[in-house]
């Protein structure tokens, strides 16, 4: 990969930064994980590359911002996609702003998720590390929420499913990630659900019932009564 430099090592692979067809580009290489059996590694990698590309395209159709897809190379196990030069991870943004701003953002996140689920896209790994905020004017300023676009990334564990069950699990994964990362988790998640409701009017009720069910399934939870 000429002209690309290592940017960071994510959970699934290495992320490189560079230029492709004159555009700032991220190359996500799902390199061979030596700890896995080669058969398992190649089948999982293929599956994840497929899911990631499919969901990105589906999100685009649904009007949810994700990086634009440039090229999928199965042989080299790389996806080339849009790079946002001025962006901040939602996780870092939330820890740096007031509760009020964090709640507003949470509502925005919820609305986008509502849209995603209305299109039957299950993200599969919703955490605040997998959401970016990008300045609309291409500046490295992240102060006014109205100047920031919300982008979802890391669709490797995503799939397409219309059932409320998978949507409930998706929300539960997010709730748990919030609790383990943010001290404001409770109010943030309430806002997420509010936003979700507003964008997914036809299905939110069923999904919220499932969410309650999924919560009750957690192991070794204290049960009263």
């Amino acid at each position: 990969m000429e002209g690309f430099e290592l940017f960071k090592q994510g959970a699934e692979g290495r992320i490189f930064k560079g230029t492709y067809l004159g555009k700032p580009t991220i190359a996500k290489e799902r390199f061979v994980k030596k700890y896995r059996h080669p058969d398992l590694d190649s089948s999982l990698t293929r599956e994840r590359i497929k899911s990631e590309s499919r969901s990105i395209i589906r999100c685009k159709n649904a009007g949810i911002r994700t990086p634009a897809l440039y090229l999928v190379d199965f042989n080299r196990r790389i996806i080339f996609m849009e790079h946002f030069e001025n962006s901040i991870v939602v996780k870092d943004f939330i820890s740096s702003v007031s509760e009020e701003v964090a709640n507003k953002l949470a509502c925005k996140v919820g609305a986008a998720l509502g849209k995603m689920h209305a299109s039957n896209i299950i993200h599969g790994d919703l955490t605040t590390s997998n959401m970016l905020l990008v300045n609309k004017n291409n500046q490295a300023v992240y102060e006014e929420l109205k100047d920031l676009d919300l982008i979802f990334i890391d669709f490797g564990l995503s799939h397409i499913e219309s059932s409320a069950e998978d949507k409930g699990v998706d929300l539960y994964v997010l709730e748990r990630a919030l609790i383990s990362t943010h001290s404001l988790a409770k109010s943030i998640f309430e806002q997420v659900l509010d936003g979700y409701k507003s964008e997914y009017k036809s299905g939110f009720k069923e999904v919220f019932i499932k969410l309650e069910e999924v919560r009750a399934r957690g192991r070794k939870r204290t049960m009263v009564g």
Binding site: K34, L40, G124, D125, S180, R219, K220, R221
Partner: protein
């Protein structure tokens, strides 16, 4: 200076140990082993603990060289675990606390594993993979709690291994997991099994059912029991390593600590090490003395609680089968 005596009996291991300021003075254990093809049940396990507890307690005190009067605090496993075995040991803890007039502390079993692992390996702030017969959790410390980032949504990984061992009628001595590990070393052919990762959570029940239903057919088709053990280990451990890696990336952590009975599996440690090497992280693991349930880990966590001023009222010294890692306020860490 704190001398703590810990009693553990949440599953089929009865363990009693004594710690003095981070040094192990004694670590005695007796395991209830069932015949091949059978698991351990609460009633019989509690019976085993009751029959052996005075002998193990006497050994632990004799080996430690301390007199009961020198002990500062009695610690026991409050939960999580099986009710009857937990109660059989808690009764002994209550009795000696009154007999010797010592304070009594109920310890969360998972916290015991984490604190013992940190002490033995010197890992300061690791992302913890806790894997045993009853638990599978990925844990990281944040804001005075050990937070659960990922966990199994159905059965524990050790439970999956134990029950698979019953399918093949492997011996439970010294443990089903150990025997699977030895057989897996001779396995060659890899069978693709279901692989179930949901974010940072994992699921094992589907894999177990898949194996239970097809094991016989695989064996007829020319696969050996060794191949089955190999394929199962490779699949479920890959799931654990992958989710641990997700938690590492999310927390920007550079340390992994493996604790719990399944944690002494060398293949799991090897796979985790490869993952850590690929991202410049460090792996910490312990051997069977501390990985497998034991009394000193309860003593160690109890000693930390005691030193930071935790007191427990007599009426709070009960046992509970459900007791999540994140319910405990961590008063002894100041980071």
């Amino acid at each position: 200076m704190v001398i703590a005596l810990g009693l553990e009996g949440s599953a089929n291991k009865l363990g009693i140990g004594i710690m003095k300021d981070g040094k192990v003075l004694s670590n005695c254990r007796k395991t209830y082993i069932t015949p091949p093809g059978e698991g351990f049940l609460p009633k019989e396990t509690a019976e085993h603990h009751r029959q052996n507890v005075t002998k193990v307690l006497k050994d632990a005190i004799d080996q430690s060289g301390v007199k009961p009067s020198e002990i500062d605090v009695i610690c026991y496993t409050k939960g999580p675990g099986m009710g009857a075995p937990l109660a059989s040991v808690a009764v002994v803890a209550r009795t000696i606390a009154q007999l010797w007039n010592k304070p009594l502390l109920g310890v969360n079993h998972c916290i015991g594993h984490i604190e013992m692992g940190r002490l033995i390996t010197g890992a300061a702030n690791p992302t913890v993979l806790y894997v045993s017969g009853g638990n599978t959790q990925i844990i990281a410390y944040s804001r005075e709690r050990y937070r659960i980032f990922g966990e199994t949504i159905d059965i524990a990984v050790g439970n999956c291994l134990d029950r698979f061992a019953r399918v093949l009628k492997l011996s439970n001595d010294p443990s089903p997991g150990y025997n699977i590990e030895q057989m897996a070393k001779k396995g060659k052919k890899y069978i693709q099994l279901p692989y179930c990762v949901k974010g940072m959570d994992v699921s094992f029940s589907g894999i177990l059912t898949f194996m239970e239903e097809r094991a016989e057919k695989f064996l007829k088709d020319g696969y050996t029991p060794e191949d089955l053990c190999f394929s199962l280990q490779e699949t479920i451990f890959a799931m654990l390593v992958e989710t641990t890696e997700r938690a590492l990336a999310h927390c920007n952590s550079q340390e992994v600590l493996i604790v719990g009975g399944v944690g002494c599996n060398e293949r799991l440690q090897e796979m985790m090490k490869q993952m850590c090497d690929e991202r410049g992280a460090k792996l910490f693991a312990t051997d069977e003395r501390f990985c497998i349930d034991n009394g000193v880990m309860i003593a160690q966590a109890g000693a930390e609680m005691f030193s930071s001023g935790t007191k427990m009222k007599w009426e709070d010294c009960f046992i509970t089968q459900r007791y999540r890692t994140d319910e405990v306020k961590v008063t002894w860490r100041n980071d």
